[in-house]
Symmetry: C2
Subunit: 340 residues, 2 copies
C-alpha cells in the first residue's frame, strides 16, 4: 500500500517561488491572461511543469462557485440500458474537464432523495437523472439550483428537459425494413404492456403497417421481456398462423426465443420466416443462429446528448424544456436478410 510521503501537493506558491514571481503573476501566466510578459510566462510555465503542478480544483471551485463536477443519478445499475447512457455521458464530460459523481438509487425514492441531497451539498454544477424505463418518472422538482436533464426515463413534468429514445419511430423503422425485405404477414411479440417502450414500439409498428397497406397477423402479444416468452409466443403464433413470414420481437431476448422455436418447428430463418428485435444487445444478437437483425436505440449517443445539454446550461444557454427524442438505427444481420 502506497501510503507514500504525505507529500503536500505542490501549490501555486511553490511554482511562483521557483519562478521568482508572485503567486498572482504565476496565476495569470498559467491561465493565459494577457497582462504578462512572454519571458515571464515562459519561466512560470517551466517552473510549473518542472514541479508538475496541477491547480487545486477545490480552491478554484471555492472561488468560482463552480466545481467542475456533475452528478449522475441512476435508478438502477443492473439494467442493460443505463450503462451505455452512463458511458456516453462520462465520455462527453471527461473530455471537458468535468468529473462525474455516480449515485445508484436502486429504484428507491428514499435513497434517491438521499443521494440528491448529497450531490447538491457537494455543489455539483449539474445533474443527469437516468431512469431504467422509458415511462415518465416523477420530476425532482424545480427548487434545484442547478440544471437537470432526465435521460431515458423522461420527467413527468413538461417544464423539465428530458431525452428519451424514440420508440414509436423505432417500431416504424422495423416494419419498414421487414416490408422492404418483401414480408407481408408480420406478427409482433413484445414485453409487458405496462412498459411504454412496448406500447410505443407497437404503435409505430401498427402505423407503418397501415401506411404499407398491411395488417398485423393476430394481435400484438404482450407479456414478459424474456426469451422464454419469445419461445412460447412464437410457438403459438407459428402454429396458428403458418402463413406468417416475419416475427417482429420487442427485444433481442424475445427474438432469441422466437428463433429457437422457429428452429424447433423446422422453419428456416430468414428464408421461411424473418425474425428481428430491438435493443441490439450484441451478446445476444451476434451469437444467434442466424445473427439477429435489431434496432439499436443509440443509447450512448443519448448519454452524450444529455451531457451536452448540461454543458450548454452551464454556459448559460437556455436548454429549453420538454422531451427530446433520439432516433434508433437499424442493424441488419442474417435473421432478416440471407447471407450468401
Amino acid at each position: 500500500m502506497a501510503r507514500a510521503e504525505p507529500a503536500r501537493a505542490v501549490t501555486l506558491s511553490d511554482v511562483a517561488r521557483l519562478a521568482g514571481v508572485s503567486v498572482a503573476t504565476a496565476s495569470k501566466a498559467l491561465n493565459g491572461r494577457d497582462q504578462v510578459k512572454d519571458s515571464t510566462r515562459q519561466r512560470v510555465v517551466e517552473a510549473a511543469d518542472q514541479l508538475s503542478f496541477s491547480p487545486n480544483p477545490l480552491a478554484r471551485g471555492l472561488l468560482a462557485g463552480r466545481t467542475g463536477t456533475v452528478g449522475l443519478l441512476t435508478s438502477d445499475l443492473e439494467g442493460r440500458f443505463v450503462i451505455p447512457i452512463l458511458m456516453g455521458a462520462e465520455d462527453a464530460f471527461g473530455a471537458g474537464q468535468v468529473n462525474v459523481f455516480l449515485c445508484d438509487a436502486r429504484g428507491d425514492t428514499i435513497r434517491e432523495q438521499y443521494h440528491l441531497r448529497a450531490l447538491l451539498s457537494r455543489r455539483v454544477d449539474g445533474l443527469i437523472v437516468v431512469g431504467r424505463q422509458t415511462d415518465p418518472r416523477p420530476s425532482l422538482g424545480h427548487d434545484i439550483p442547478v440544471p437537470v436533464v432526465y435521460a431515458y426515463a423522461p420527467s413527468d413534468d413538461p417544464a423539465d428537459l428530458s431525452i428519451t429514445p424514440d420508440n414509436v419511430s423505432a417500431g416504424r423503422l422495423a416494419v419498414e425494413h421487414l416490408v422492404a425485405c418483401g414480408r407481408t404477414r408480420i406478427a409482433h411479440i413484445t414485453g409487458e404492456h405496462a412498459y411504454a417502450a412496448a406500447r410505443d414500439r407497437a404503435e409505430g409498428v401498427q402505423a407503418a403497417l397501415h401506411a404499407a397497406g398491411l395488417e398485423l397477423v393476430g394481435d400484438v402479444m404482450y407479456s414478459e421481456w424474456s426469451e422464454r416468452w419469445g419461445r412460447d409466443a412464437a410457438a403459438v403464433l407459428l402454429t396458428r398462423h403458418p402463413e406468417i413470414d416475419a416475427v417482429l420481437c420487442g427485444s433481442d431476448q424475445i427474438s432469441r426465443g422466437a428463433l429457437d422455436t422457429a428452429r424447433d418447428l423446422g422453419r428456416t430463418v430468414p428464408d421461411d420466416v424473418a425474425v428481428m428485435g430491438f435493443d441490439n444487445w450484441e451478446v445476444l444478437t451476434t451469437n444467434a443462429r442466424p445473427e439477429l437483425t435489431s434496432i439499436d436505440a443509440n443509447l450512448q449517443q443519448l448519454g452524450r446528448t444529455a451531457a451536452q445539454r448540461v454543458f450548454a446550461a452551464l454556459d448559460g444557454v437556455d436548454i429549453g424544456s420538454g422531451t427530446e427524442y433520439v432516433a434508433g438505427r437499424l442493424v441488419i444481420r442474417g435473421s432478416t436478410v440471407a447471407r450468401r
Copy 2:
C-alpha cells in the same frame, strides 16, 4: 429547466448571523465540539436547518485535506464484470457519506493516466482500480499519495493490495458439483487461453478431477468466449466422445452454445449430459432450456470488499498488500440437476 434563483448557497455566516453568534461558534456548535453552551448550540442548529444549511465540502476539503470522495477508475464499462463490482463499491461508499467519482479509461493507458491525474488533483481520499480481466495489470506505482485497491484485475506489483476472484477454487467447485451429481466423464470447453480466468479455472478443474480419481475427457478446449464456440466445440466433443456425461464450460455464453448443440444432437440435458458454466449471468442462465447451473463469482461482494479496504486505509489502518481472493458460489439449476 430549473435555472431557479442563482440563490447564492447559504453559508455558515448566514447561519451565524441568524443565530446571533460568530461563525466560529456556529462552526463548533454544528460540528459537535464540546466548548459551547447547550442553549447556544440549540439556537445555531435551529438556524441551520431553518436555512437548510449544508456546509460547502470544497471549503471543508480545502482546509482538512480530506474530501470525502474516492475515485473509481475502470478500464472498461462495457464489460459484464465491471458493473457488479462498481455497484458493490458504490453501495459500500454511499452508506458511509463518501461519494464516488467514476472514470472510464476505455482500456487506454493514456486516458487512464489522464483520469488518474484528474482524480488526484481533485484530492480524492482513495482509489479503486477496476480491471476487465483477472490477469495482472501494471501497477499505478507508489508515488500516489492516497490508498489504492485493485479490484478484479490484480496489480502486477505484490506491494499493492489487490482483490480478485478465486478462479482456481471456482473450477474445483464446479467439478465437485458434477462429481457429486454422479458424473465421471467430464469435458471442459473454455475461452481464450490468453485469459488467466480460463487457465485458472482449468487448473482447478484438473486438480479436482485428480482428487476424485478422474481424468478429463479430451484436452481442455480453449478458444473464444462465445456462444458460437460453445456450439462448435460441443459438436466436436459429443461426436468424438459419445460417452461424455458432463460438459463444463468456461462461461455461461459457452454453456448456452453447448446446450444448443446437445439439443441438436438429441442429447437430453441433464439426464444424458450435464452442462454448466461460470459467471451466473442471469439473462443467459435463467432463460436457457433447461436453466443453467453456474458458478457466481460474487463480484458485488468483491466491490464491497474493495471499498471496505479503502475505508480502513482512510482510518489509518494498515490494509496490507498482496492479493486477496474472493470465493465463488455454486448456483444449481436444471442443467445439472433434473427438476421434477
